[in-house]
């Protein structure tokens, strides 16, 4: 069936080229049937890529080792779930998933918007065609997943660290995020080429950007949890280049989601918004390049491959063409209004944007610096954790505070008297929190203390916004308090969903500050019966067991845990020896306290033949708030994404007013 897969990819490539060429010709010449034909080509490209994906998935599930890709990424002993995850576990398969999601998103975005923004859509189709042509070409000519060989007896298996349930969701979510950013990019480029720089490209892409941003955010959190549990070094984010590769487009998209509101409400920042969309997409391509080219050494990256120069060339083309288009359309992008005051909500959004962008570019510099230093001086100089942590504090802490300040300031301008009134309660809460924490000894970490103080400010602001908004809705005629609360959210999902997302970021900040600024670590080599202490925990090493699992030999040290003399049960930490892959992984032991959010984290660093174990133990206060933040983030995103009937009616009415059909 490899022939079917190969043929399906060639068909996808042909259809993508057709969507690009016929779409551009139709838009330029104003040909209706050719435009529809190009749109259909995107849909057919999705169907064809789906066939190719089905062929690969079927080969994986059948353990058909005549497929080189299947033999390289799986083995007979690999559990079925991980066999499925091998689809995106290797270079070629993950590129196929890219193309599948891309063509699916392209077909859906065109179909959903072609009714009310038809003159814009005809220019969007060739952009989608161009991007999918690039990925389909890579799959056909550079990294084909359907290469075949004489089937070996068994496959090479999967890298042990990838044999984790988080790997079932983490990579696909990141791809949804990366690829999802193609939608706003395609609409922005379509708007620039066609000169339709009105609000419609923003309205058409707002939800797509939110979907991509949510997927990227959740994907990164799952990746962090995977690193925490599976990589076994005691942390969850190492500022690894490939981790940063996902963070950078997320930061750019976050900036866009904020600044887009200024354009919608004030008609300002038109050039800025287009540039942010272009930046987010370019960074998503850059991230994909980093993961696949082999230019950086990372636990998350694929092996060295010939794909890098292709990606670099494509990024170069994307950036050059995009900037040329922006420059060409500058006269059409001039804003009709200007910032009235530096103390206004739009100004707060602007400061937020500048900080997000500064953080994003700082991380970008940290990622490219080793590459540049190697190219110039012949020696790769890596910017370490201190560099990133410093700028995270410099830009991240003011960002945290701005999340609380923005909602307290009115649009256009606010007087000092008004500010004194609205800032009263959040400032009071922040000061009290700071003083109490200082009295409790949290002054050992100044950034941590500042983070908690700012977090208290933001949480109070959010609570006040919900309380005052509900009270206002009740005064406007809601029959009950729950009714007023529900009406508040449903009438402005973006605003109040956004506040829920802000609450998630606060939880994240508290979790990060607690687990990094106030954590403790202890190390000891223990023989059976010996014990060690960390904080008020006591751990006694009891037994060392060896057991055989489906695809690995598991060695586990059992520790009895007590706290303040109270027995807390046992904890296991050890190593897995993967027979086929010939690799060993750390399997950490974690005991979470659901009440305090604290983790006791145990690594069995070294297991000697005589049974002695070298343990490294961490106590990480509040670390579980990071994972809870993920759930709150998802809730806020869902509230914001939920379809808004009022907005739909407004769009239909607007289209009717200018005399074009709104839906078809």
């Amino acid at each position: 069936m490899a022939e079917l897969g190969r043929a399906a990819l060639v068909v996808s490539l042909s259809l993508s080229v057709y969507a690009l060429v016929a779409g551009a010709a139709a838009a330029h010449l104003g040909r209706r049937r050719l435009a529809f034909s190009a749109q259909n080509a995107l849909l057919a490209a999705f169907a064809s890529t789906l066939v190719a994906s089905a062929v690969l998935l079927s080969a994986l599930l059948r353990n058909d080792f005549s497929f080189t890709y299947v033999a390289r990424t799986t083995s007979e002993a690999l559990p079925t779930a991980y066999t499925i995850s091998a689809f995106w576990g290797g270079q070629e398969g993950s590129l196929l998933l890219w193309l599948l999601v891309l063509t699916g998103f392209a077909a859906a975005a065109v179909r959903l918007n072609r009714g009310w923004a038809r003159d814009l859509i005809v220019w969007v189709v060739p952009v989608f065609g161009a991007v999918s042509t690039f990925f389909a070409f890579l799959l056909v000519a550079v990294a084909n997943p359907f290469a075949t060989q004489a089937a070996p007896g068994d496959g090479l298996g999967m890298t042990p660290s990838l044999q984790n349930p988080y790997m079932l969701a983490h990579p696909p979510l990141l791809y949804l995020g990366y690829v999802g950013l193609t939608v706003p990019f395609a609409f922005a480029i379509g708007a620039l080429i066609s000169g339709r720089t009105d609000e419609r490209w923003l309205v058409a892409t707002r939800r797509w950007t939110l979907v991509a941003w949510t997927a990227l955010g959740i994907g990164q959190l799952l990746g962090a949890h995977w690193a925490y549990e599976e990589v076994g070094w005691g942390g969850y984010y190492a500022w690894d280049p490939v981790e940063n590769a996902a963070l950078m487009p997320w930061l750019a998209a976050t900036a866009f989601l904020h600044s887009v509101m200024i354009q919608e409400k004030r008609g300002m920042l038109r050039v800025w918004n287009i540039l942010l969309v272009l930046l987010a997409f370019s960074l998503s391509l850059f991230g994909t390049f980093l993961t696949r080219s082999g230019v950086v050494n990372s636990i998350h990256s694929f092996t060295q491959s010939s794909i890098g120069p292709w990606f670099l060339a494509f990024i170069g083309v994307v950036v050059t063409v995009s900037l040329a288009l922006v420059f060409w359309r500058l006269p059409k992008l001039r804003s009709p209004t200007k910032l009235e005051s530096v103390v206004s909500r739009e100004a707060a959004f602007l400061y937020n944007n500048l900080l997000l962008l500064a953080l994003c570019l700082t991380i970008f510099w940290g990622v490219v610096y080793p590459l540049l230093s190697e190219a110039v001086r012949g020696e790769a100089v890596v910017l370490g954790r201190e560099y990133y942590d410093f700028f995270l504090r410099i830009f991240g802490l003011p960002l945290l505070l701005l999340m609380g300040i923005g909602p307290l300031i009115a649009w256009r301008r606010a007087s000092l008297r008004s500010l004194l009134t609205t800032f009263r309660w959040p400032t009071g809460a922040a000061v009290v929190t700071g003083l109490v924490l200082l009295a409790l000894g949290a002054g050992s970490s100044v950034p941590g203390l500042i983070a908690y103080t700012f977090a208290a400010f933001v949480i109070t602001t959010i609570a006040l916004e919900f309380a005052r908004g509900t009270r206002a809705r009740k005064a406007l005629g809601a029959t009950s308090w729950p009714g007023a609360f529900s009406s508040l959210i449903s009438r402005n999902r973006r605003r109040y969903g956004g506040y829920v997302v802000h609450a998630a970021i606060v939880l994240l900040a508290i979790g990060i500050a607690g687990s990094s600024a106030f954590d403790t670590v202890a190390e000891a080599k223990l023989t059976r019966g010996q014990s060690m202490e960390i904080g008020d925990y006591r751990l006694e090493y009891r037994t060392l067991d060896e057991r055989i699992a489906a695809n690995a030999t598991e060695i586990r040290a059992e520790l009895a845990v007590s706290r303040g003399g109270r027995d807390l049960g046992t904890l296991e930490a050890g190593k897995n020896a993967y027979t086929i892959e010939e690799q060993v992984s750390n399997e950490v032991g974690i005991r979470s306290d659901p009440l305090t959010g604290e983790d006791l984290f145990v690594i069995a660093e070294q297991i000697d033949p005589d049974g002695a174990v070298y343990f490294r133990v961490f106590v990480k206060p509040l670390v579980n708030l990071i994972w809870i933040a993920g759930l709150v983030f998802l809730l806020g995103s869902l509230i914001t994404l939920w379809p808004d009937a009022r907005e739909q009616r407004r769009l239909v009415e607007r289209a009717r007013e200018i005399g074009v059909p709104a839906t078809r």
């Binding site: 079917l4 259809l15 649009w411 256009r412 407004r650």
Partner: protein, 117 residues
């Protein structure tokens, strides 16, 4: 191998049919021109967007005043210019409507994208 090639050929043919569908369904259209916004439509769209922005800003200010985010003084200072802005955008739209009377979709005779013959 043969089955795979037959399936591949079927896939290619099906894709060609899907791509050719607009031409197959509408071989001799009355018009094959795209329904684009003309200069008047685009000007009107910009005016409608400006009006919606002004009205939304007024609504937001009213709500911010009710919740206490905008003080009485700020409200009084902002509401006047915002009302004038909204009124001006409504007048612009009316003037444009009078100078260029709106024409219904059917009256404009734009091809709708569905079969026209």
């Amino acid at each position: 191998m043969t089955l795979a090639l037959v399936l591949a050929a079927l896939l290619a043919v099906a894709c060609v049919v899907v791509v050719a569908l607009p031409f197959l369904r509408d071989p001799e259209p009355v018009s094959d021109t795209l329904d684009e916004l003309d200069a008047g439509d685009r000007r009107r769209l910009e005016l409608v967007e400006a009006r919606d922005r002004a009205l939304a800003a007024l609504k937001e200010l009213e709500f911010d005043h009710r919740t206490g985010t905008a003080s009485d003084d700020d409200y009084r200072a902002l509401v006047g210019p915002l009302r004038r802005e909204a009124a001006s955008s409504l007048q612009d739209l009316e003037r444009d409507g009078a100078a260029h009377p709106a024409v219904g979709v059917e009256e404009k005779g734009r091809p709708t994208g569905e079969r026209t013959s």
